[in-house]
């Protein structure tokens, strides 16, 4: 596919945005004058409730009984995340190897191997397209209320996603050592495990940490539908309008997410991986095989972490910059002997997995009973029953879903770019790119800005989107807007951090050159920083757009509209035929959005 010109992609996005705003009730381009009625968006009567909610920020519930409930719930959420991640990594590794091109090329070269590889990749698309929340609700219907639901709801879709990414990593790892082994007479499978897997391991591990962070957020969301843990406690507190308790729960979530983020960042740094999403970067240092070049460009179009432009042209300069910044107050950096930290973490991981399984007390016997229900379900999704369920009534809902995602990601992207500057280490801190050099104060406004920006981003991504949507529903009428705003806040938290990392990886030479010829800080942003980073900001935004579309089902749960709402209704009325039809439409929609997003990502590169 030929990359389209940039203006076309930009125009397309503006068109999508205008259309979405129009559907969401903001009549741009004066169409309101044509007599189309203006639906109200804000419910001003509910703002006092939002005020109460916000007031509770400063006085969360601190009675010992509730704190102990929350502590237990925190542990449950963590246990869900750990068990879910453990399963999804096992699934991901096995399915990832079996759906990687390099495995089949090595073990079974020829047409058969290639067709197995293709169908393996294709089969992974379906579990991946269905959001973990829908999996959770589906499993809840089949298995009943059991912790198993939460673990499997994370394991199945995340397993499929991990498998796809692992397969891509394996295929992008240079194959020369593997070929050398095979050519010297080593069995192909042994050669693969011995010569190929160890090379790919750092990237696989790096991605696994990222998956764990995602699992933690998913565990909180799944709690809302009854899987237990923090999400559930927060939901109960919100339903009984006890905002103080609600904020205790939020703080626990923020703390948990923050601790996991810090720990994983520290561990990745100590193990020598720079950024969690830079899996594709290393590949560019290696010699590309010509026959793979075309495929690689295809692949890079799909995953943004694999398409970051090669930026480590000047690692020394970046390192120098880092050491220049090592003027943080000591507590900002946890200093432990490197090996102790890594070993301790590995032991903790190894211990925590069996402990968490024991803690959750999964009831595996439910899987047997579920078999009968599954057979019943299979009858309902036969083509004769599903086909009549397709109707044009699904069309406006599909359009609403897309509109919600477009508005959400636009808001999230703008906020993310704005916050990525104070949240990055290399701008406002003493010695940073946007500071005059030669300052050597240990503390500055830059530190305060960075901490505040990072906390805001952390809170935005830690608080489950359906809870945000419920709060927003106090002040807005049900429809696209509350869902879009909730998703925007959530994705803002994620994008802001990713973009801050992009900023931190910026080669500083050109910016410092502009600085030293006397340019002001604002000019630096527009002449040095944004031109260098904008394409990656856009690539991340478009990638999150794909995710955001899938996430519309989360806010659909609480009545924010779109296909997600219909899905949750059909699930609660056990209407599996209808659900199958809705999910089919949804999968088609995600495929369409993935396609458009991939096409636009090529344009902005």
């Amino acid at each position: 596919m030929k990359p389209p010109p940039k203006p076309l992609a930009l125009g397309l996005w503006l068109g999508l945005l205008a259309g979405s705003l129009w559907i969401a009730g903001l009549r741009v381009f004066g169409l309101g004058l044509l007599g189309l009625e203006q639906r109200p968006i804000f419910n001003w009567n509910g703002f006092s409730l939002i005020g109460q909610f916000l007031l509770a920020i400063v006085h969360p519930a601190t009675d010992s009984v509730f704190i102990s409930i929350i502590a237990k719930a925190t542990l449950t959420t963590l246990a869900f995340a750990i068990c879910g991640t453990a399963f999804s990594l096992i699934i991901g590794l096995l399915a990832g190897i079996l759906s990687s091109e390099v495995w089949w090329q090595t073990c079974c070269p020829g047409l058969i191997g290639r067709s197995i590889w293709r169908s393996g990749r294709g089969a992974l698309a379906i579990p991946r397209a269905i959001h973990e929340l829908i999996w959770g609700l589906l499993l809840l219907n089949i298995l009943g209320l059991d912790p198993l639901v939460g673990v499997l709801a994370i394991a199945i879709p995340f397993g499929a996603i991990t498998a796809k990414v692992f397969a891509e990593i394996l295929d992008e790892t240079p194959t020369a050592p593997l070929k050398a082994l095979v050519n010297s007479g080593v069995r192909p499978d042994a050669a693969f495990l011995y010569g190929h897997l160890p090379q790919a391991l750092p990237n696989l591990i790096s991605y696994s940490f990222y998956r764990f962070e995602c699992s933690l957020r998913a565990a909180a969301v799944l709690g809302v539908i009854g899987a237990g843990g923090l999400g559930y406690q927060i939901f109960l507190s919100l339903q009984s309008l006890r905002y103080e308790q609600l904020w205790t729960g939020f703080y626990a979530l923020i703390l948990l997410n923050g601790a996991v983020d810090l720990w994983s960042a520290q561990l990745r740094r100590q193990m020598g991986f720079v950024s969690r999403m830079d899996i594709g970067r290393q590949r560019r240092n290696t010699v590309k095989q010509p026959q793979n070049a075309a495929k690689q460009s295809q692949r890079t179009a799909k995953q943004p972490y694999a398409e970051q432009p090669h930026i480590d042209a000047e690692p020394i300069a970046i390192d120098a910059n880092r050491s220049n910044l090592s003027r943080h107050p000591a507590w900002l950096k946890i200093r432990l002997p490197k090996q102790t930290f890594i070993r301790g973490s590995l032991v903790a991981i190894a211990l925590s997995i069996p402990l968490c399984f024991a803690y959750l007390g999964l009831d595996w016997s439910r899987l047997d009973r579920a078999w009968i229900l599954l057979q019943d379900l299979a009858k309902q999704v036969s083509p004769t029953q599903v086909l009549p369920e397709f109707s044009w009534a699904l069309f406006p809902l599909a359009v609403q879903t897309v509109a919600m995602s477009v508005i959400a990601i636009t808001l999230a992207g703008l906020g993310g770019v704005l916050f990525s500057f104070p949240a990055a280490q290399n701008f406002f801190l003493p010695g940073g790119l946007l500071r005059a050099s030669g300052e050597a104060r240990r503390w500055s406004i830059g530190h305060g800005l960075m901490i505040v920006a990072r906390l805001v981003l952390l809170a935005a991504r830690a608080i489950p989107a359906p809870i945000l949507a419920l709060v927003i529903l106090y002040g807005m009428f049900p429809g696209i807007w509350p869902g879009a705003v909730a998703l925007a806040i959530h994705n803002f938290g994620i994008l802001g951090r990713l973009m801050a990392e992009v900023n931190e990886n910026l080669p500083d030479g050109p910016v410092r050159a502009l600085r030293s010829l006397g340019a002001s800080s604002t000019s630096l942003i527009f002449y040095g920083i944004l031109p260098a980073n904008l394409s990656r900001f856009l690539a991340y935004g478009l990638y999150r757009w794909e995710v955001c579309l899938r996430e519309t089902v989360i806010v659909g749960l609480v009545g924010a509209g779109g296909l997600g709402r219909l899905m949750t209704e059909q699930l609660s009325s056990f209407d599996y035929s209808g659900l199958a039809a809705t999910i089919t439409v949804f999968i088609l929609l995600t495929i369409g959005v993935d396609f458009v997003s991939g096409w636009m990502r090529q344009a902005v590169r």
Binding site: E314, S323, A436, S437, G438, G509, P510, R512, A513, L514, R515, S516, L517, G518, A519, S520, T522, S523, F526, Y527, G528, P531, A532, L534, S535
Partner: protein
């Protein structure tokens, strides 16, 4: 603006007992140096001698651990904010790695030389609608790059990018030009071309301070040669009177002591 100060000052660039430390490494150790306006000075010395550090001190990207640095009669590190930027725009720097913003087109990189003078609205508007295109075109014509005005900088060859970097300095129109090993990564013919461009750039009493590895170029294009070794100035002589003895000492001694 800074003109009166320049005229009053006897020297364009001056170091007074400057020491520069990075952690435990001493890059410059109690160095004093004075360069008069209009002088062309070459800095020579082995790698790690402190040449880059010395240049960076003069353009304000690092500050000395102790001692005085003055540029055009003003102490760069005493100034802050606007005043400092006003001084910095009188100092142009050519880097070995060019340090261009590779995603921007050539015209914007050349126009970046105006950034110290342009108000913000003009800088932003120029990104949408390039300003002072004639100036940029004229400068690029001098350098033989007029046809690349709207090309993306990263698509140019290394030599072309270096000329874009030079064009940026020409547009900046500084009183002092600093060049950090500008010919380290080009072939001998290009090196001569580059040095000629730098000299052309520094006519009309502009000051040039250039760090070089090739002594031949230093002799051919500069008035004065300063030898730097392990953070100390070993010699400071007119280019015409330098002898081979001094040079072999400069490079040899370091090898034996390092």
């Amino acid at each position: 603006m800074a003109k009166s100060a320049t005229d009053a000052a006897a020297e364009a660039l001056a170091l007074e007992n400057v020491t520069c430390r990075f952690g435990s490494v001493v890059a410059l150790d109690c160095v004093s140096l004075a360069i008069a306006p209009g002088e062309r000075v070459a800095l020579v010395g082995p790698s790690g001698a402190g040449k880059s550090t010395l240049l960076k001190l003069f353009n304000g990207s690092i500050s000395p651990s102790s001692g005085q640095v003055s540029v055009l009669g003003q102490s760069l590190y005493r100034l802050s904010g606007r005043r400092r930027r006003q001084l910095q725009r009188q100092i142009g720097m050519v880097y070995q790695q060019h340090q261009l913003v590779s995603n921007l087109s050539v015209i914007h990189n050349v126009n970046a030389g105006h950034l110290g003078r342009w108000p913000l609205w003009k800088a932003l508007w120029s990104l949408v609608w390039p300003q002072q295109v004639d100036v940029a075109r004229q400068v690029l014509e001098q350098l033989g790059l007029a046809d690349k005005l709207h090309a993306r900088t990263e698509r140019l060859s290394g030599g072309q990018q270096q000329r874009v970097a030079l064009a940026r300095v020409m547009v900046q129109n500084p009183k002092v030009v600093l060049a950090d090993e500008p010919v380290a990564s080009v072939d001998p013919a290009r090196a001569d071309d580059m040095m000629q461009q730098l000299c052309a750039l520094t006519q009309r009493r502009r000051t040039l301070l250039v760090s070089l590895h090739t002594v031949r170029l230093a002799k051919a294009y500069c008035d004065r040669i300063v030898g730097l070794r392990r953070g100390h100035i070993v010699f400071d002589v007119p280019a015409a009177s330098i002898d081979d003895q001094q040079l072999t000492e400069l490079y040899n001694l370091c090898e034996t002591t390092a």
